[in-house]
Symmetry: D2
């Protein structure tokens, strides 16, 4: 048997991954799936993974399918063979790593939040533009085919004039007052608004366009957490963040973020109300979109549960049959494919550092508003 050995003329794109935790794994799953599901513009090479020590990195490389490992992320960033640096390290390191990678001429893919302060995010976004590299922040929920359908129904006017919006992102992973203090709980980490509200804000602007003004509310529910020794550390950030919103379009709305919402695991929900229709969505059932239209006769009107399928690209590339459902990791594969297409120049960057900066600006404005108890412009 001599089957033809197959050529592959696509250009290579070599990936360096920094960080191997929850998001590091998710990204590596995303790379693996994207290669199989999409006709990518590049042949991916999972080149090097960096972690705190060489041992950790080596173990992760084997698990995640990378060829090389290093305990020093600067070596990865400086490696001339690497084209794309993927940053999933703790938030506090994003800025330094991204700036170094940009300086080395790499395309940079960074988990959210991009930076603890908007000014730093702006510095990162500006650096990328100046260097002419492509960037992406990991707003994976926006990669959902049903989110694209939602935006399309809004943009094409099927809901009429958009009037109001309600967005939520609530989970309960910080709900136990005895769960220990972590990096998320100091001011640099950012709080529920920065961690989860960022998703709610990204979804709001993805669907309804720019937010012009916000009126914020922030609450610390659990004032101290065990410090891991025998004492407790004061918590400096919000456990719940809320905001009223004014969109440039004239629509108004609200968002809420909570990481102490007992029982909620993925309540990234939104409702959109227009003059002729409405949408409702929950990330807990993200393969569905609820759609209401006044175009139906009164007696048969109702919210219909649309199930994701090949009518909702790129679902069909994952599965030719509707109703079978994408998973969370599949959203990451779509995110990877979008970034590679942006690098190849096939499309604009969908979630560049500039959009990451934008979300940080909104988070910061809400914080400023909540502190002062007054509306703050975000135009």
């Amino acid at each position: 048997m001599e089957p033809k050995s197959l050529g592959n003329e696509k250009p290579k794109l070599r990936v360096g991954l920094i960080g191997t935790g929850f998001m590091g794994k998710t990204h590596s799953f995303g790379f693996a799936a994207a290669e199989r599901v999409f006709d990518l513009p590049f042949e991916l090479e999972l080149h090097t993974v960096a972690d705190r020590t060489e041992e950790l990195a080596g173990a992760a490389a084997r698990t995640l399918g990378f060829k090389n490992a290093t305990g020093d992320w600067r070596r990865l960033v400086g490696d001339p063979d690497i084209d794309l640096v993927d940053i999933t390290a703790p938030n506090a390191f994003h800025r330094e790593m991204a700036l170094a990678a940009i300086a080395a001429g790499k395309h940079v893919y960074c988990e959210k939040p991009l930076a603890p302060r908007a000014a730093e995010a702006a510095e990162m976004a500006n650096a990328a533009v100046a260097a002419g590299v492509r960037t992406q922040v990991g707003f994976n929920y926006l990669c959902n085919p049903m989110m694209a359908l939602a935006r399309d129904l809004i943009v094409t006017g099927e809901l009429g004039e958009i009037r109001s919006y309600r967005g939520i992102h609530a989970e309960d992973y910080m709900g136990d007052a005895e769960s220990p203090f972590t990096f998320r709980l100091d001011k640099v980490g950012g709080g529920a608004l920065a961690d989860l509200g960022s998703h709610a804000l990204a979804t709001a602007e993805f669907l309804l366009g720019p937010i012009e003004r916000v009126l914020g509310d922030e609450v610390t529910v659990i004032n101290s957490r065990p410090d891991g020794k025998d004492g407790r550390t004061a918590v400096e950030v919000d456990d719940i963040g809320r905001a009223f919103l004014r969109f440039a379009s004239g629509a108004t709305g609200s968002i809420e973020a909570s990481w102490v919402a007992t029982g909620r695991k993925m309540q990234h929900n939104f409702e959109v109300y227009g003059s002729r229709g409405a949408l409702a969505f929950s990330q807990e059932r993200f393969n569905e979109l609820q759609f209401y239209t006044t175009a139906e006769a009164g007696r048969v009107r109702g919210f219909r549960r649309i199930q994701a399928g090949p009518d909702h690209p790129p679902y069909g590339l994952f599965c030719v049959a509707p109703g079978h459902q994408l998973g969370f990791n599949d959203l990451k594969a779509i995110e990877v494919a979008l970034f590679l297409e942006a690098i190849a120049g096939i499309r604009a960057e969908p979630f560049s550092f500039r959009s990451g900066q934008r979300i940080q600006e909104l988070v910061e404005a809400i914080h400023t508003s909540a502190t002062g108890g007054r509306w703050v412009s975000t135009a």
Copy 2:
């Protein structure tokens, strides 16, 4: 056949009803059902109904089962035979009618909102206290057995310390920009916050206790409405009202009211999050309550859908079998029974004019807050 003719030693309570629209009918259904379902402390006599003309009142009396009719509500209020005056006339008349009835020594049952301004509601509540008559405002959603269960789960600590609250009351009956201008749309009428937000606020305090501070947001979505001639009238009230809340207990939350939420017919929803559990509820399925508790083992935790049944009094008086469901009019029957028991001195007034005044104060505070863009005390 000579079956025993049955005596009935209960004291009589003679009812006068003012107004025969949506709520007038609902109240008369409530009286009829309450008599059959409950062992009331009184024998009800539906004595007189008043409407704008004698003809209208006469037709309504026949339909609604009242013995007499009048085109002059003052005659009804002045009739010494009448014990209870039930006011379902348009909101603008509530104050005058109620004060007259109180002055005549009647118990007064009044639809919400009690009055357009809190000061007027206070006047009404004070007058009732001074006169020693019993009063009730029609907060029928609070009469739901599942609402009682929700409050009980909170009060007995099954949710742990209560942390946050999210309340909504959204419908779409004012959603069509071409629906004509009505009394609801001038300043006296009050807007969505007064009409629907009052329900959301009543539910919030029913469940979590007093609200201390609010930060409001009000929006007029449809700026003018057809005036019924060939022009349009400017709308002076909110189509959407929102508020952030601080409860005396330390919990925080939000409410939203909208009457332009296309597709929503009865989205009177709430979510309550505590340190050990959570609740979720929608009036669209008001015979159900969602309950989450961390007392379950991790792998089998989840929001459970409790269906109303005889375990949730007074459901069992309506139906001995669970899952059969109460209807909206049944809630009114419970409301009637509660008021009659208060009149008989068996229980405290559950929703007296004082509680109606309280809701108006909250509505007013939110309006003041929204106008000024700052937190306002409601203590």
Copy 3:
């Protein structure tokens, strides 16, 4: 004050009620509500109630609003003043009571099941036809406005050619093996198929028309029950009944009845599949109907949740606002109104004894089929 004392020229209809348990109460609620909600062709007079003793009957008369009471149902049936005899006594007495009432020239309203055997039901139906009186069996689920909508969507062809049907009626009130033996558990009582399957069969024929053949399955899950002394009594009837169905229309389907379905309180569900659409329904949320149509564009197709409202008569007579929901007792009020209209000659009898007989024939055919393990004709 001299309001006009109101006349009422409607003819009187005097009601005699036999039985004061679950269904006796429900019927009396139905009479009370029907008077208020509907413009009935008669003025109802709740004349006499009969129970096992005069004392019981007297107490019930006071509670249920009847004028007279008797411990002897034969006196009620023989009273020339009574026009309509309403039978809610235990199933075993239905035949004797109904035949006596028919012989006395009364219209007869009888709870289901009409009789333990189809031949007896036929005898009752024949007697009523011969006597020229009107009859009705209590198939209240069929009085739901959403059930009417479902049938209308089928009959008008909005679902295309109907292909298949799935019906269930499952509850759990006999699920505890230690709940005592009752009349329902001997052969005359009938079992789950007779008690609950009768509802499933009535719904199936209401929606899809006549069933021609059945293939049955019956199971006794709990073989004996406590006899109330110290022993146990053998159970002679089915706890679960199932059948495959062939409709005259060519459609096929199945039904299942169970009273040992732990956790189910009112799982009276159906699904209908046609060539161009589908319906799904659950009595647990009976103010909703799920509707799917292929007339929508592919990407926005989905089952829509239609909420009951004034578009679905006679909902609007109960409440002018959609989404507020009817309750179980409201369905009984509709049932009462339908029967009074049939007595007045305004409409055909919607659920006459003939239709009750039909359901018994189907139950019997399924029993015969299950015993023999073969298809049985029901044409």
Copy 4:
């Protein structure tokens, strides 16, 4: 930079894939994800893909990540370098391909249905046992962590004694009468019962153990289909198949399969009722399981919606956070991992050809039963 080049001491397992359609792609996604998510006992090498022509195979190899391609599946099967043959070709070829692969000493992974007739499936299963190779049939729905939870709750007695079962697998991909005749529609293809009912039967036995007797029902709804020229071809198989079931445990139940259920995309549902609890599941929301237990106090009993998370292995290997959801392709990755562990001897074959044979026997028994209209033993 000289990061350590990483060794990998795991033994290699070289895969040959036959067929590149829906399931061919899904399997290749499964291999890719399994490598990243699991610590597999082998290093996978995607060696060769076979399709009808060398060109098709070559294109698929590039897309799916295989090194070699061939237009002749016999060459793949005969290649001594290949350890595992994965068959996703049309059903009609399964037997011949599998027997050839077994004869060549390969482990064989085959999509369902294993063979059109149980006798052929038995031949395949026997051959595999005789050759000492490992086999697996693609029952991916059983790989769902929530399905494992369901079985565990049953086996550990949390539902008490299991009484009844209701299983469904309904879709609508054959619902259009004008969709052309395909291989699925002749007797060898098998019909809805073989294609979808096989899933329902596999789930039933997975959860409740062996089925002893069946009473079947089969219906052809669309009697002819366009033949692709100008005529129509008669359809020889069932569009809907149903069966009543007797389990060896004493439980009873039913299954239904339909591929003409308009609006249904993935209605692979089940309900299990025990003496102390119940389960309900729908593959349309396969990251959830509904669980009811009588261990709760009456007033807070209800079906709870358990969301998949790290408490439900191997979910946590895909994602450390609950509620994020697995996708359909992730189930295939689990299936792959299970097979590789069986090949490595770490576990028994979870879904061997013997279990595939079993399902075919059940399908065949139902067909025999439906044809004869009588109960058939499946012990």
